[in-house]
């Protein structure tokens, strides 16, 4: 497969910059696979597993909400506030975040707090799921 350039950015650092042969990401409307020469495309990512094919094999990363963009020149940019390779996920921390979010949801607080806790829970669960795929 033809490789193309990809840039994965977080506010803290450039998470990954290099070439890839294929990306599989999950957007609000389902999984998308992106190969070289994709037409310009922008979508929101949901908390999910992001798979990047580097040198013939896929690497997994847990991504929280973000954006994926295929520019006119064919390079792909992924922007996310939090992204971790599956083998770098701190499972203990994810478990803690999950327990905290669950207890928050059981408190029958306001709708606003419930929604925030639910998002937090989604992210924690996603990290746990991806961590198992290492």
């Amino acid at each position: 497969m033809t490789p193309y350039n990809i840039k994965v950015l977080t506010p803290e650092k450039i998470f990954y910059e290099g070439s890839t042969e294929q990306i599989i990401a999950k957007t609000a409307s389902g999984n998308v696979g992106i190969l070289a020469g994709h037409s310009p495309y922008v979508a929101n990512l949901v908390a999910s597993e992001l798979r990047i094919k580097i040198d013939g094999s896929f690497r997994s990363a847990a991504v929280s909400d973000g954006i994926i963009k295929v520019s006119v020149d064919g390079t792909v940019t992924i922007l996310s506030s939090a992204i971790e390779w599956s083998d770098e996920i701190d499972v203990a921390r994810a478990e803690k975040a999950k327990a905290y979010a669950e207890s928050k949801m059981k408190e029958h607080a306001s709708q606003k707090e419930f929604d925030l806790a639910e998002q937090k829970l989604k992210r924690a669960l996603n990290r746990l799921v991806v961590a198992q795929k290492r």
């Binding site: 840039k7 950015l9 977080t10 506010p11 803290e12 650092k13 450039i14 957007t27 609000a28 409307s29 998308v32 037409s39 310009p40 495309y41 922008v42 979508a43 929101n44 929280s64 909400d65 973000g66 954006i67 963009k69 006119v72 940019t77 922007l79 996310s80 506030s81 939090a82 975040a97 606003k112 929604d115 925030l116 998002q119 937090k120």
Partner: protein, 286 residues
């Protein structure tokens, strides 16, 4: 000068010396923290620029409406004020807090409502003492800043913005110009205006599922990036301000030590001269 007075001078020199040791140490700590904070502040740029670019692309390629670009109707503002967690940083905290208060008064003066979100212990303390509606307090988050915390703050703001709790969000923080200058700065982050329309249209770009949803879905990233960069920027400024303040404190201390040493040496010499005079006059009188 009598012997007791000399002892006093000696003690003062000692005390100034130990103060100087502390200010010197703080200066060194602040300058190394500043360097790291500056690197972090610079690392945000690629992320933020990309987010902003995509938002501009969306608004250039399509006519659309979003709750985040609507003009305000209620005139109720959330003001996010970022100050330091500690003092001893020269005018750093004072400058940014004064600017925030002036801006708050300006909004109230035009009949607006104001809510304050204080980030940093000094901002919390300042607004607690005054009669503003302080709705959120985030002390001590700047030093070991964690992105998930910032994301939560961003989501909280968005949730309340959507519910109509306020219809504008403004940010007051200090921006790092150079190691010597840091300037308080204010800017509006919501509703979004002045999105750049520069560049070519690319109507063929696919927005999945729709331009509106893509745009709205990007707002958390935008806000998170904005807040994170402002907090890191402000933290770098705080360290730079502290470094400068401690540098001049150390300079003052060393000047004081010089003056006191001169005083001490003069007194010592005067005492010796007097003793010699006494001895010689005693031998003459023999």
């Amino acid at each position: 000068m009598a012997a007791s007075n000399m002892k006093d001078v000696k003690r003062r020199i000692k005390s100034v010396e130990s103060t100087m040791q502390i200010t010197k140490a703080m200066q060194l700590v602040a300058s190394s923290k500043m360097r790291r904070a500056k690197e972090r502040a610079e690392a945000v740029h690629p992320f933020f620029e990309s987010v902003f670019q995509v938002m501009c692309d969306v608004s250039r390629d399509h006519d659309f409406t979003s709750v985040y670009t609507k003009k305000k109707f209620k005139n109720s503002t959330l003001m996010i004020v970022i100050a330091g967690d500690r003092g001893l940083a020269g005018g750093f905290n004072h400058n940014v807090l004064k600017m925030a208060e002036a801006r708050a008064e300006e909004i109230i003066g035009t009949g607006g409502e104001i809510r304050v979100m204080a980030i940093g212990k000094k901002a919390v303390e300042y607004f607690e003492k005054r009669s503003y509606d302080l709705t959120d307090r985030f002390p001590n988050i700047a030093e070991g800043i964690d992105l998930t915390d910032v994301m939560e703050i961003a989501e909280n703001i968005i949730e309340r913005f959507r519910l109509g709790d306020f219809d504008a969000v403004e940010l007051v923080y200090t921006t790092f110009v150079s190691a010597m200058t840091q300037e308080p700065n204010q800017l509006r982050i919501l509703p979004l205006e002045n999105l750049d329309y520069i560049g070519d249209k690319h109507p063929s770009t696919i927005y999945d599922p729709s331009p509106e949803e893509v745009f709205d879905g990007m707002i958390p990233q935008y806000l998170c990036g904005m807040l994170y960069s402002a907090i890191v920027d402000s933290y770098a400024s705080e360290q730079a301000a502290r470094r400068t303040a401690m540098e001049s404190a150390s300079d003052n201390a060393s000047e004081m030590i010089d003056n006191l040493s001169l005083l001490y040496n003069r007194a010592r010499q005067a005492q010796i001269t007097q003793e010699i005079t006494e001895i010689s006059s005693a031998s003459i009188n023999k």
